[in-house]
Amino acid sequence: MALSRIASSSHASNLLKPLSTALSIRRLISSDSTVPLTIETSLPFISHKCDAPPRAVDTSASELFSFFRDMATMRRMEIAADSLYKAKLIRGFCHLYDGQEAVAIGMEAAITKKDAIITAYRDHCTFIGRGGTLLEVFGELMGRICGGSKGKGGSMHFYRKQTNFFGGHGIVGAQIPLGCGLAFAQRYSKEENVTFTLYGDGAANQGQLFEALNMAALWDLPAILVCENNHYGMGTAEWRAAKNPAYYKRGDYVPGLKVDGMDVLAVKQACKFAKENALKNGPLILEMDTYRYHGHSMSDPGSTYRTRDEISGVRQERDPIERVRKLLLAHDIASEKELKDIEKQVRKDVDDAIAKAKECPMPDPSELFTNVYVKGLGVESFGADRKEVRATLP
């Protein structure tokens, strides 16, 4: 894709205001893609027991470009999952992440694949962020063997071991102690990596969160607890569920930071800051102020506990993809047409993946009994009397 930029690229390092596009010189993306840009986050960080990171975020043209493309992919994927669910190709629970893409993308931009991420059931986009493919997502959602967990997990059980993505958990809050265990293992093996444990505003009232936080702080584990606060725990608004909805402060002795979760650059800055801090000082809480457009899951219309005006208001003013689009246009990194082309390409990729996943077969019945135990037992064994394998007695 060609980039168009004003020749005076020396402005790049300043806090940029929109430059005129009178003269545009087309350049290839590779030539100036890594020229650093500094952009200010739209809202300041609010901190608790720590110093907030600066609002000026270092980024680059290619990074913004990749943000746009990745977020558009995630958005398109979630919308497609919505249609597939209504067509009854996806069954059961399907929790969609559209509106919250900035959290997944911003986090990925700040960390490496050696750092661990664990989240709850709204995990489709986090899986993509960690390197999962669209085919694996749609395959798993439709229960096919090409899915990430071979069709045996479903929407709430995406995992990717090779890039340290630990799922994918259905029980609210149960992933938080697991996340502390990941951090414990990182400390035990003396790796310089951190664990991001994501949970929602609903899970923030779980006791195991505070138990795990106590242990993480006690032993200085490199655990960063990220509350993706979309303001509704299924149908209950946060002010109706939490006495103190300032989730970043609920760690008490653990420092916290409140971040605008719809601003991908703010998320990136916060995660970078959190990683540096966690490696030195132990756990940290990040509260991402975000929003989900869909209901809690596909069985929830999402409009009985909030007004349509609220949803469309957020979509107009705070949508993460629109924000990046405006940045790209304002800094002349791309033109309207190029961005529309990307969206068309993304749509095509998603449709291709869906078509391919639809052709994939369902798991064989014998798969019912595989992976219950690790193969150390020598046979597939699954039950008190192991009915599948019979003994021929002498």
Binding site: I118, I171, A174, P177, Q186, N371, L393
Partner: protein
């Protein structure tokens, strides 16, 4: 707290045949030419055990054939060394921690205090605070933490101070421990060992006398074993740590001070095997954990009365060792199950169903299952005695069964 196990003979004075006559050792694996049902988790290590270390080691499943005229022989001439059951557990734990740096222990008071039943005594000074971790009183989250650590490759041993406390961690054990290997399509394995003392003690009260094997038995993906002697305690502990699957090791509060002789050489037992305690002809008595001793006491009476019971300590509560059990049923045609679990939905109930489904043709009489009463364990001593199965009841049951 550890109570002295009074009134019952030590494990070395059981019955006439004192040899630990196990099901065939792996070296005689070929004896089982029939299709393999009971596969040991360590089958692939025979003949070379433990290739990681370079010492030549043999897998010994037969305990030293000791006993007989113990009054004559002096202790120093007998091979092996004598210790208490909790020391055997500690020995197994220590050997595994030395062998593999990924093995760590976590639980309440396991580190500096040494463990409420002294199983981890001295390990914290030897291995450090990170490997023998004192956790706060937060079972749900430290169990979850252990499971999360296992997902990355560590091998934690999670100790519940009393098995009953692990009810607080049921979600983590059921959903994350048992099911993660399956729901991730085989990506993650969870090689944890969850252990702790359970069972009815000496007037500990209802909440501290729970038998959790019945609650955990239907969780898919886990294995459950119950140890009953110092020999099998150490062997099962080592096997559980080496297993790639999550294993729940049930110990019993009243068995910690059992003294016995175990081999000096290293040995690992199979997690899925049952133990033949006393071969016989008339009736198969299946039992595990503390009830083994009640059964052996009853067996003495029964032998005097002319019966020949075959006593099998099933050891593996999930999955059952149907090979050993089936062989026995084919021989005796009568089954008595003696367990400490509750009547409703206990291990005995599942075992009855499994035997009936698989070996119905070989049974001459309906299976009799003696379990604890379906009541909260009372505090009063006499009442508590009546909640669990006593040797007299076992004798009566065998007599009725063999009519």
């Amino acid at each position: 707290m550890a109570t002295l196990f009074q009134g019952l003979p030590s494990s070395t004075a059981f019955s006439s045949s004192n040899k630990f006559n196990h099901a065939p050792a792996p070296t005689s694996f070929s004896e089982r030419k029939s299709s393999i049902v009971t596969v040991r988790s360590d089958a692939r290590w025979s003949p070379v055990l433990n290739s990681a270390t370079h010492k030549p080691q043999r897998l010994i499943t037969n305990a030293v054939a000791t006993k007989a005229d113990s009054s004559l022989a002096s202790t120093s001439s007998k091979p092996g060394h004598e210790l208490l059951l909790f020391e055997a557990l500690r020995e197994g734990l220590e050997e595994e921690m030395e062998r593999d740096p990924c093995v760590c222990v976590m639980g309440e008071d396991v580190g500096h205090y040494g463990g409420s039943y002294k199983v981890t005594k001295g390990l914290a000074t030897k291995f450090g605070d990170l490997r023998v971790l004192d956790t706060p009183i937060a079972e749900n989250s430290f169990t979850g933490m252990g499971i999360g650590a296992a997902m990355t490759g560590l091998r934690p041993i999670i100790e519940g101070m009393n098995m009953g406390f692990l009810l607080l961690a049921f979600n983590q054990i059921s959903n994350n421990c048992g099911m993660l290997h399956y729901t991730s399509g085989g990506q993650f394995k969870i090689p944890v060992v969850i252990r702790g003392p359970g069972g009815v003690g000496r007037q500990l009260g209802a909440e501290h006398s729970q038998r959790l094997e019945s609650y955990f038995q239907s969780i898919p993906g886990i294995q459950m074993v119950a140890c009953s002697t110092p020999y099998n305690a150490k062997g099962l502990m080592k096997a559980a740590i080496r297993s790639e699957n999550p294993v729940i090791l049930f110990e019993h509060v009243l068995l910690y001070n059992l003294k016995d002789r175990i081999p000096d050489e290293e040995y690992v037992l199979s997690l899925e095997e049952a133990e033949m305690v006393r071969p016989g002809e008339h009736v198969t008595i299946l039992t595990y954990s503390r009830m083994r001793y009640h059964v052996m006491q009853a067996a003495k009476t029964l032998v005097n009365k002319g019966y020949d019971p075959e006593v099998i300590d099933i050891r593996s509560l999930k999955p059952f060792d149907l090979h050993t059990i089936g062989k026995s049923v084919k021989k005796t045609h009568r089954v008595l199950i003696v367990e400490e679990c509750m009547r409703t939905g206990g291990i005995g109930a599942s075992l009855t169903a499994a035997i009936t489904e698989n070996f119905n043709d070989d049974l001459d009489a309906p299976i009799v299952c003696l379990s604890s009463q379906d009541v909260p364990t009372p505090y009063a001593g006499t009442l508590e005695e009546w909640t669990v199965v006593q040797p007299a009841q076992i004798v009566t049951a065998v007599e009725q069964l063999c009519q």
